[in-house]
């Protein structure tokens, strides 16, 4: 066996750090809790998907855990909100990006305005999830404890249920695009969320403003 290299304190020179360990842990906590809530939620959404309940231990079990994992997801969104809020604020440049969204969809990224840490699509994804989780929380609390709802107000439960499902469907639409973009369309962003690093070329091409900012903060690359 050859000697193993010591762990690197800095990423290799062709790489830059994109997500810290803390950021990645919170992201994957969000990802796991969201996946659990979505799959168990889908079990209760449609009889054709009720078999998912069996996968997760049966109807009463998922009914017990779904709200708790929802709170875990909520906690991770709160953390992201606190940490990434400034990076997620929509700017004037994002307006231009949205106008040229066709270029993004058709992989002509060179036609897009330079992006900061998150591109306008990622920001829109975040805000869709943020408002969805707000509705999911408020409706979810009612659905968690329907027995506490006064008997003459129980008619609101279907309204709350529809809101919960509508918000969940919006988040699912957003997550389909999010997972597709990160796993299939831009595999580098999945690498970034797993290993924390991206290639400089990728950072420069897709997140130029962010790349220039971190370049200014660090030692110049020879």
């Amino acid at each position: 066996m050859t000697t193993r290299a010591l762990p690197l304190k800095e990423p290799p020179d062709d790489q830059v750090e994109r997500y810290s360990l803390t950021e990645r842990i919170w992201h994957w906590l969000a990802s796991l809790s969201y996946t659990y809530c979505t799959l168990t939620g889908l079990a209760l959404f449609s009889p054709y998907l009720y078999w998912l309940a069996a996968v997760f231990g049966g109807g009463p079990t998922i009914r017990f855990w779904h709200p708790w994992l929802g709170l875990v997801f909520l906690a991770s969104v709160v953390w992201m909100h606190g940490s990434w809020r400034d990076d997620l604020r929509l700017t004037e440049a994002d307006r231009e990006w949205r106008a040229k969204i066709g270029s993004y969809v058709e992989n002509r990224d060179q036609e897009l305005p330079p992006q900061a840490r998150f591109n306008a699509g990622q920001k829109l994804f975040y805000w869709a999830m943020f408002y969805a989780v707000l509705v999911l929380l408020l409706s979810g609390i009612v659905m968690w404890f329907p027995e506490r709802v006064p008997r003459n107000l129980i008619v609101i439960l279907p309204v709350v249920g529809i809101l919960h499902e509508a918000a969940a469907l919006i988040s699912i639409g957003a997550i389909i695009i999010h997972i597709y973009m990160s796993v299939f369309a831009e595999p580098e962003s999945l690498r970034a969320m797993v290993h924390g690093k991206v290639s400089r070329a990728w950072a420069r091409n897709y997140h130029r403003l962010w790349y220039e900012k971190i370049q200014g903060q660090r030692r110049p690359v020879p």
Partner: protein, 299 residues
């Protein structure tokens, strides 16, 4: 699950109902003639006894009524109402309140749990607590406020129509206990006929000119029917709804919302798959912009 009853509908269940249509059970029905009820509560006691519940503390509310509402372990309640008639006289009205066993059960429509609510071909709507997840959607689906939640077991309970007795050829316990014959049990057709006869008799031979049979069409008819002195005013019998129906919002929730949502998710997945085939992955790391000349990287 009583083995000899043929199942007609199952809550939260995909696909067809196994065995439905294999045999032809006739519809069963309870007929409650409120005009001959004396409020003795023998049916309440028989219900508790047969179903194995102990007597609970009663709640006195200036009335003969045992408690304000039915409970998860108290499925059968005689409701008392001192109704003031237009001539100033008082009628003491008594109605046996329990699950109506609707032909179109709102509870079953609302329930997302496979097999938690079962409708038998003979009309009985039964809860199977082993499959119940305690979400209480059934409570919102019911126009009669019948399903009741047990907070300690997280399960919902209601009158079973004594499906265990009926499937073995016996009448429900409440029927057996009734001393005045105000409770009848038989096929829906027979009970409907008997009820109409009794209502006609009341109209012709007594002062109850508005006597009639309560078998509300809004829920497809019920397998518990009433003879009332005044069919135009069912609300006075302890809040019997005049025109019960499965709430519109429950139908919307369980119908179009699921359909649209399901299609939207399916098309979303198909959409990104087609995008991948048409455009493929982004050219990671190699795309160059117009001003991408200052190559500061070593890659």
């Amino acid at each position: 699950m009583p083995p000899t009853l043929e199942i007609k509908a199952i809550s939260g269940h995909a696909g067809t109902v196994p065995g439905h249509g294999a045999s032809r059970d006739y519809d069963v029905c309870k007929l409650i003639d409120v005009t001959t009820c004396i409020g003795c509560k023998a049916c309440e006691v028989a219900c508790l006894e047969w179903n194995g519940y102990s007597f609970t503390e009663t709640v006195f509310d200036n009335s003969y009524q045992t408690m304000p509402e039915t409970a998860w372990n108290y499925w059968n309640l005689i409701r008392f109402n001192e109704h003031e008639n237009s001539d100033g006289s008082i009628s003491l009205l008594m109605r046996k309140d329990q699950c109506m066993h609707c032909a179109d059960p709102g509870c079953l429509r609302a329930c997302p749990a496979d097999g938690a609510i079962v409708q038998y071909a003979n009309g009985i709507v039964d809860f199977h607590q082993e499959n119940c997840i305690g979400c209480q959607y059934c409570v919102t689906g019911c126009p009669f406020d019948i399903p009741k939640f047990n907070p300690s077991t997280k399960k919902v309970f209601k009158c079973t129509f004594c499906s265990d007795r009926v499937s073995n050829g016996l009448e429900p316990a409440c029927i057996k206990a009734c001393p005045t014959g105000c409770l009848h049990f038989g096929s829906k057709d027979d009970m409907k006929e008997l009820a109409e006869q009794r209502a006609a008799q009341l109209r012709e031979q007594t002062s109850h000119k508005d006597a009639g049979v309560y078998d509300p069409a809004g829920v497809g008819g019920t397998h518990v029917i009433y003879v009332l002195h005044d069919i135009k005013n069912p609300e006075m019998y302890g809040g019997l709804p005049a025109n019960p129906r499965v709430p519109f919002l429950v139908k919307l929730w369980k119908g179009p919302v699921k359909l649209l949502g399901g299609w939207a998710m399916f098309l979303g997945v198909v959409g990104v798959a087609i995008h991948y085939l048409r455009f493929g992955p982004k050219d990671a790391g190699h795309t160059t912009g117009p001003e991408d000349k200052d190559d500061r990287t070593k890659s």
